[in-house]
Amino acid sequence: MGGKDGFGPIPIEENEPVFHADWERRMYGIGRLVLTKRLLLLDEFRHAIERIPPAVYLNATYYEKWMLGLYTILIEKGLATPDEIKGGLPVELLPTVRLKPTAKASVPRVKPRFKKGDAILTRNFISRLHTRMPRYAHGKHGVIHADEGIFPLPDTWAHGGGPNAQHVYAVRFSARELWGENASPREFVYIDLWEDYLEPGRGKSTRRRAGS
């Protein structure tokens, strides 16, 4: 693996791993760079590594695995052909990867269904698949406190079902809603919930109407 360093200094992190060869250090830096620049998602990288045939996988060192994973993705995204990789070109390709906007595996732009102040009702799941909603919060009324951004849904993603990226909200529940009328009126629980867990709730929204 040769080629010029066309993309600036590689940032060194605090706990830099030990490298047994120079190419390993470069591979580490390349891997970090493509992840940091969001050229691909960690999940894609991980899945590519997982698809290395077991006989190869078990004998490869971990930087060899990174290399193989990255090659796989370059080919699958149409950024390199197998011949180019055989010819030892992929390092030269990386500046190209960085420049091509289509190469960016950015966080998908998904419109939020809810906004701050919206009244919601959490769903009541029977199946154990939906792991990130605490049991005490099923089937409860709450109010959206904040939109925390877009994240993959672990229920499907971690079980091979794709990222299913969606908004996650901090939702405010009153203690009385969760625990009954004897609870304090001055206690609230905020839970971070994926959009799939929520339905619009009936009842008063605390959102200000435009113009009021």
């Binding site: 992190e13 791993p17 605490p134 925390e148 969760l178 001055r186 206690e187 609230f188 905020y190 839970i191």
Partner: protein, 213 residues
């Protein structure tokens, strides 16, 4: 009986130690890990990352209103200013401030999620079933077990970190600390006050939490 419990505990530990040793040997043989990397990580979380990081952030927020504003608006960026980059648990840190009217406390009812980069690893009690289940339903009683009494009029907010966000409580600056330097203020910011089970320490207090009037 204490003896019986200790024996079982020891033998469970011996079994676990053997399994971990076997697991590590396998993973090293497969080229997946390196013993030195493991040592580095252990060292990091035993000696280099801990609640003192968070205490520095809090003390800075107490003395620098512009920093406080930045901290509340963008936790990771502000924390990074002090040289604490996010750890493996992610970059989504939200700082929540305590006020005379609102007191915040953090939990992870599902497992043990915790803002490692500013607080290090969580104490055993934070990961325990009694804390995780009771603080959401009876926070006032739980806080009392940590020596914290809150007036009934104070609103309590319990934050359950069920997703990617990690929460850090910005405790109120104790009274009578106007003359203290940032270094002296750092000493008053306990780990527990950044989780929310206590207030920050009073100057001159013997390590316990401040009692509210």
């Amino acid at each position: 009986m204490a003896d019986h419990h200790d024996h079982k505990h020891d033998s469970d530990d011996d079994q676990a130690a053997a399994r971990v040793k076997a697991l590590e040997a396998l993973l090293v043989r497969k080229g997946l890990i390196d013993g030195q990397m493991l040592d580095l990580i252990v060292d990091t979380y035993e000696n280099r990352v801990g609640p003192r990081n968070g205490a520095k952030v809090i003390a800075r927020a107490w003395t620098d209103p512009a920093f406080r504003k930045r901290l509340l608006a963008d936790g990771p960026a502000a924390v990074n200013e002090l040289g604490f980059p996010p750890g493996p648990e992610g970059v989504h840190l939200i700082v929540i401030e305590n006020t005379p009217r609102v007191h915040n406390v953090v939990v992870c009812t599902l497992c043990s999620c915790y803002p490692w980069s500013v607080l290090g690893l969580p104490p055993v009690w934070f990961k325990s079933p009694p804390y995780r289940s009771r603080v959401v339903s009876e926070p006032r009683a739980v806080l009392r077990e940590f020596g914290t009494e809150l007036d009934d009029k104070v609103e309590i907010r319990v934050w359950d970190s069920s997703a990617e966000v990690r929460y850090l409580v910005l405790p109120m600056r104790p009274e009578g600390t106007e003359g203290l330097s940032e270094e002296e203020l750092i000493e008053l910011v306990s780990r527990d006050s950044m989780i929310g089970v206590t207030q920050a320490k009073s100057p001159g207090a013997k390590g316990g939490s401040e009692r509210r009037a």
